[in-house]
Subunit: 217 residues, 4 copies
């Protein structure tokens, strides 16, 4: 994979150390779309950046997932009040105070066209598993493989991949479908994610694989 | 902080975005010593590297923590059998299969001189909070501040800092007391940790602060 | 305590076995009000019953808690769609399918007069800790003692008490401030709660104690 | 089911309220054997009682589970020191201080003849899921159905059933394979478990069902 091979020496070191094995695909994937909402995808927002290519990649995945009846989960990050986040979290990440339920900042990009049966999970932290019911939804749907897309690679994507790996899901990251405001943070974290938590693979491989998934009974 | 300022432009970008605020100290710290055991601290081991300066830093923290009656928790990573880790985790991180309970690989560095009242937590994953009782121990001890030391910066240190932050602990990382087999992964992850999860500060600041903590009743 | 002494022989057996110790109060309490919403408090609802005396008890606790600046958290149980609960949960507890976000069924009793700074937690399961961010809110607020009120004793109250105890919070249940649709289930579960997870005490003791709590700085 | 029908009026009330639905079996069961260790199964121990019939029931389940290659997990409750349990837990349940790792009290009944590939999970609380890696083991093994056996019905069995239900596992309790020191607590909790968290069924039904499970590839 080009992204994680950008530093071949480091890659060799990690391979020798016993990291970066391939987890491959299980039998029942789900698609996670992380934080593709106002605050992150608008370059005018303080935590936003231009994620046009990420949106474009996700828009290629969504129709296939829907057609193959693969469960889809969207997340955003929002709170009723800053107290719900907690004082320490707000100190470290001051923009947390602005992520208020109902504001444009936390609304999904409309072009994703979320369907009512596709849960929208309001997550309080980077990982989509922390403080949410996502894990129980995945178990109910017999999911064994989690495809992680969205932003930001160095925060919510990495945190979500680590959690899903911890629970022994196969975790797959289509490289073109995740993004970050910083190119260097994106690169460094994609390397770590591939070495420790998930298989980082080309988007085309994921599109191809999803087309072969048998439709749920 | 020198470490996180190594890329001043990136730092400015993150400050502007509303990351990297200072959480400061609470009133009741605990010291976590992560994975300072055979497999990691011996350069002869496949996942090991030379962490002499990290050990040296931790050996400065331990006597003060003991003298000030600050709770201390050690971790290692071990399993009765690879089945306890789970197939997917073993595929991604093949050395997991070798981390067997009772082997030298998972034994703490003897110079840390762990006392019987200082819990040794066998953690199954990177974060010291995942699949362990650490959180309940911290709450029982009224801890509000977690000092994270040990290795590896890009794995267990970052994972532990993220979890502790998620729960709204003040998280403090003494820069000289954490280490990694890869200098570039160390640097990149220390930046992310400081921006998102913890205050990365000089060891001397932590030593100084601990000396001023009032001894628990 | 009258409630848990209703079967003195059983109580003696449990005392001898090393259950039912007193946890007492810590220094920083919080008040939890569990599921005092339409579906449970209206006798016309299928899972509802007459909880007038429970409401009355909670209405005595709320003004003191507000006056003493004790953090207050309300819960309800609601979902965007039944898929968010999950198929198995819906099979075991079919009324789950009817607990939809925005419906009257899941709205708090208006007489509780929740303030905007008092979080309303939408919990997906019996325990207020499962799949929510409550734990991180309690840690942020330095809470060490959780007062559990509301309904139902045999479900959400017991589940919440068990979780809070698991994390080493002092758990206090004012007997008159919890209720259940079944008198026998109420009685049996109050006994178990007192033996295993929480101190079940008279409401007057809690009112008296809260009046002595020092107001947070 | 005879056990939960012992109070037909209460049962009718719960059915009408939308509790006690049947979850049935999934495709991939696991067998949990909870706390069948010295402290609980010896009538001479303060928390012990005569659980001969429970042991006998479990001894009927184990050979079939092994023959059908169904994953089996044993638990016990033990700590290195009481500090690992935490002060509040030790106050409420004083016998916790005596459950020390390595003592006879925490050793499994030898007649269960645990195999090395059957994990022994040291759990710190009632639920086998709290503070352990059990959930990730179940996901790794693609388990969707959890058969809960052992003791005590009013504590660790109920807590484990609630957790497994929360995560959307099918939960099955063979009535003769769970026990409690108190007959009335056993009866009351079996009713609640069947109404809220699990299908309580005759042992023979479970034995019959396991014989029809296809052996894992």
């Amino acid at each position: 994979m080009e992204h994680s091979l950008s530093n071949p020496e480091l890659r060799r070191q990690y391979d020798a150390a016993g990291f970066g094995g391939r987890v491959g695909w299980g039998n029942r994937p789900a698609l996670l779309v992380i934080d593709m909402a106002g605050a992150w995808i608008s370059p005018k927002e303080r935590i936003g950046s231009d994620l046009t290519t990420v949106v474009h990649s996700i828009l290629q995945l969504l129709p296939i997932a829907r057609q193959r009846q693969i469960p889809i989960y969207f997340t955003t990050m929002s709170y009723g009040t800053p107290e719900e986040a907690g004082e320490i979290v707000c100190r470290k990440i001051p923009h947390t105070r602005e992520m208020l339920r109902g504001s444009k900042r936390v609304q999904l990009a409309p072009e994703l066209d979320r369907r009512p049966t596709e849960p929208l999970i309001e997550k309080p932290r980077a990982s989509a598993f922390f403080g949410t019911n996502l894990l129980a939804m995945l178990i109910a749907a017999r999911v064994d493989t989690v495809i992680v897309t969205g932003c930001s690679t160095s925060g919510c994507i990495r945190g979500t991949c680590e959690s899903a790996h911890n629970y022994n899901f196969h975790v797959i990251v289509p490289a073109e479908a995740v993004g970050d405001r910083s190119a260097s943070a994106h690169e460094a974290n994609l390397f770590d994610i591939d070495a420790r938590y998930a298989d980082v693979v080309p988007l085309n491989d994921v599109l191809h694989k999803l087309n072969s998934v048998s439709i749920a009974a």
